[in-house]
Symmetry: C2
Subunit: 214 residues, 2 copies
């Protein structure tokens, strides 16, 4: 059955986060290098950049699960780009170049309407102005039997968690302290939301933790 999942979400030990898609072309400052160390050496990461090789290890198993079996994605607008307010033109097409890593319908939460944007490789960006519930409804319909990924950023993940709309969370806790950023957990009571830990593996790069609802 189709699930709504957060996956490949990096978290520092002091609770600051970002999703792996943000590490591709997006200049995240120090966040990317520090919280995605577990990801860069994997086969999945290299394949996303058109490169062969890469590790086939525990980190890879979590990397591949973070990118596979998704029929649709939902992103917050700030994850899609740096522009705020109304879209002045169609020039901005995301951080990821002509062929984004989604390869599926991808719904961007925004207050400002814009025509769908068809990219190479199967990604179409739809601009969802009806709120998080409407965006999820459209994403589920687009995904069919596959899962819907809440790709980020932190604010979007927090909104879907508070609305109790997420089934599964796959985090990679990196042994770093960022000191500042967007905090994932304040006011988010995962046990009260019905989540419990169903997997935990530590590698030299991260502690991978999966939480499942119910």
């Amino acid at each position: 059955m189709s699930k709504v999942r957060v996956a490949g979400f990096g978290v520092s030990l002091d609770g600051y986060s970002a999703g792996i898609e943000q590490s591709l072309e997006n200049p995240l400052g120090k966040v990317g290098p520090e919280i995605f160390q577990w990801f860069f050496h994997t086969k999945t990461f290299r394949a996303m950049h058109g490169q062969a090789g890469g590790s086939v290890d525990v980190d890879e198993s979590f990397a591949s699960r973070a990118m596979e079996n998704f029929g649709a994605f939902i992103l917050g607008r700030n994850m899609f780009g740096p522009i705020r307010g109304p879209w002045l033109d169609d020039a901005w097409k995301g951080w990821w170049g002509a062929n984004p890593p989604y390869h599926a319908p991808t719904f961007v939460l925004t207050h400002h309407a814009r025509k769908p944007l068809v990219m190479e490789g199967g990604t179409t960006f739809y601009f969802a102005t009806g709120g998080i519930h409407e965006a999820l409804s459209r994403a589920k319909e687009a995904a069919g039997d596959k899962d819907v990924k809440i790709g980020g950023g932190v604010s979007t993940v927090r909104q879907y968690l508070r609305a109790s709309l997420i089934d599964s969370l796959q985090f990679a806790f990196a042994t770093v302290f960022l000191g500042q950023g967007e905090a994932l957990f304040p006011g988010i009571d995962l046990p009260a939301l019905g989540f419990s830990i169903t997997e935990r593996v530590t590698t030299p790069f991260a502690t991978h933790v999966v939480l499942t609802k119910g």
Copy 2:
């Protein structure tokens, strides 16, 4: 040289904390059992309860370091007891019974004066009404060449961190999500305060992380 240290401080993956002294006789609800799993099986924990045996492993090495070489302790008032406001009498003598686990001068931060309280085993509770700087000054003088431990609770640790008065932090990150409690990290920028990770070891029970300033 004498250091000011936090040690044996348990933290959940969603950032809620307590120090190991709180687990002794203090009914912490679910926090104790969940974030101190790494501690209960150790030789140090058993010795603190007058029992022989216990593990001599990586968890034990962090447990013993969390209790050794301290010449004085500082505790927040809520960690000392449940009474708020002025002391009505001298009946309350801490959570720990006649022989508390400190075995050294222990300064309790409070706004309300009270005579020192001499306990068995070398612990004397002093009630420090002059603020965190004065309490630390007294604790350093009492500790001599040994270290001063900021034992907790969370609010006390945060106050000393913000004032840039702590030299070393030894955390045990437990793979649990508490959902609520006292959050340790909001507004605390450890890199900006000069801390970097100097040790990291993962056991089946916790990821032990030491941060050192400077």
